[in-house]
Symmetry: C2
Subunit: 328 residues, 2 copies
């Protein structure tokens, strides 16, 4: 339960006053939860703290305390810019030089392929989530209140799939317990994060299930979602989340792939694996990235061509006994 | 973290040699996990222990260590019969007098409506699961090994929906952490319990989603599954599990109902609520029962008539500001 570079982090906290807390575009529960928990904690320490995410905050995360504080652009230069949950600096969605917005760059993350772009890097790939690292950074400095606790709780359950994924550690379970002690209601948070369905999302699910195909002796399951399917179901882009799991969870499947038509010639690809394929290696072939069991990439091809090319690479990964196969 | 009647339980353990460990028909992860963890623990203490569940063990729970030990009938009289996770004695599926099978009856359960039928009753409705109570009963008596740990882990995550339901307490989260420390792999267990889908279950899901109807200003969501739908999808009865959540999770829904045609004039009804309706009270009107947020009953009517009668009662419960409405 020790954090590398904690001393340097404390030093930076002590000697600076204004902080910009940023995270990646296409925000999820961990990016938003870690940004808000650290923002609220810094404010409690008497600092100026501005949370920035250059993207739309999904509707379902608007229950998070402090979410209205989030700006969708960087305003002015701070003493310190803290990047959370972002493996490289481009993920922040900035067109300008990050140096324009902070004298010191602190990079807090849990992705194993983190580019270590900070002046100070607090990167722990064994952490379940960025929120878990934030918890350890702040727990001895302030009394964690319910608002901060809900944000950290959301970070951890989002990135561990509510204690279901392989990154569920004794430490993160004990942190969840501490947060429930503080007052977090697990059923309330879980309902917001996992259990909000719209009728449109159910219609989209039915359409996506119709595209399910099984390949390579049922080891690969693939599905796709076109723009037309989004229109017919009246579903939002964010409602595609989770659909890939229907493919991943089929008995015998090792790799699941979901193709989403973003534009006529741009296809977003989500990849998941169950036990032994390192899907981050597949995603990297298409300039994407991620984790061992969950990764993604963007392919600049129409959806049908993207399907052919990516499924080919997945088949090759399954056949390859070399670098790509990776037992944990 | 104290267990009522622990002293009496220890006394019974000390002075007896043969134990039958039983749980309810229609077994789930908690009944099987608690039965097996207690069986394995008693064996470790040098006792004779026979696990009994008078029903088929669902395929997906066959990964549980010790599952092959389970008998589907009571064989001989033991010194002690321990009932787990069963609110009343009929749930054990016995036609004979329970006294035929044990000199002493110990009743270990976490259902709030438990009938206290034991000579010794260890009933704690604040416990997440029967497995959680077993953990507390055995943890100071033996070294919990991986086989026992997996069973208890399965109990807890089954009954808390992997830390999503309102019965997720700091205590059960800390027990999960301890079990991961012992060696349980959360992703492995979760995959067995929650993430095994068959193609047939996906086909059934699509058919069931087609029956979705929203009533009372979208506060009630109802679905049904007929025998014909099971045949068309080639799905097994147990593959209907979880489908009710698609109804419960729709934005604005308070009560979800799933009707399953068991026979031409027998309909099984599952009831779930989100925030304030006590569905156990609705189930009790039809001689069923359960918890505040999850309950069920069997109605001896064809499915269409059962739907009319039960949905009427649900509407009445929603309208009633009296005993049935119950903020936690």
């Amino acid at each position: 339960m020790s954090i590398a570079n904690l001393g340097s982090f404390n030093e930076i906290l002590k000697s600076n006053k204004s902080f910009t807390i940023a995270s990646h575009v296409d925000p999820d529960g961990d990016s938003i939860g870690s940004v808000l928990s650290l923002t609220l904690a810094l404010k409690k320490m008497g600092k100026c703290a501005e949370p920035v995410i250059i993207d739309k905050i999904p509707e379902k995360y608007k229950f998070l305390p402090g979410n209205k504080l989030i700006s969708n652009q960087f305003s002015s230069r701070s003493d310190v810019l803290i990047s959370l949950d972002s493996s490289d600096i481009n993920r922040l969605g900035l067109n300008e030089d990050i140096r324009d917005y902070g004298n010191i760059i602190v990079n807090i993350d849990h992705h194993k392929n983190n580019a270590l772009f900070g002046d100070l890097n607090i990167v722990d790939s064994s952490a379940s989530s960025a929120g878990e690292i934030v918890y350890q950074l702040i727990k001895d400095k302030i009394k964690i209140d319910n608002d901060i606790a809900i944000n950290i709780y959301t970070s951890i359950i989002t990135d561990t799939g509510s204690a279901r994924y392989s990154n569920t550690t004794p430490l993160c379970l004990r942190i969840l317990a501490d947060l429930v002690d503080i007052g977090v209601k697990p059923d309330y948070v879980s309902r917001q994060v996992f259990e909000k369905r719209t009728l449109s999302s159910i219609k989209l699910l039915k359409l996506a299930l119709d595209t399910l195909e099984l390949l390579e002796n049922n080891k690969i399951a693939a599905m796709y979602i076109t723009q037309e399917m989004l229109e017919v179901s009246k579903a939002m882009e964010e409602e595609t989340e989770g659909i890939i799991n229907y493919a991943r969870e089929i008995d015998g499947v090792e790799v699941a792939v979901l193709f989403r038509e973003k534009e006529k010639s741009v296809t977003k690809v989500g990849l998941r694996s169950n036990e032994w394929v390192d899907v981050s290696k597949i995603a990297e072939k298409f300039n994407g990235g991620g984790h061992l069991r969950a990764a993604g990439c963007i392919v600049e091809l129409p959806i049908n061509q993207a399907r052919a090319v990516v499924l080919n690479a997945v088949s090759a990964a399954l056949a390859d006994n070399g670098g790509i196969l990776c037992k944990e």
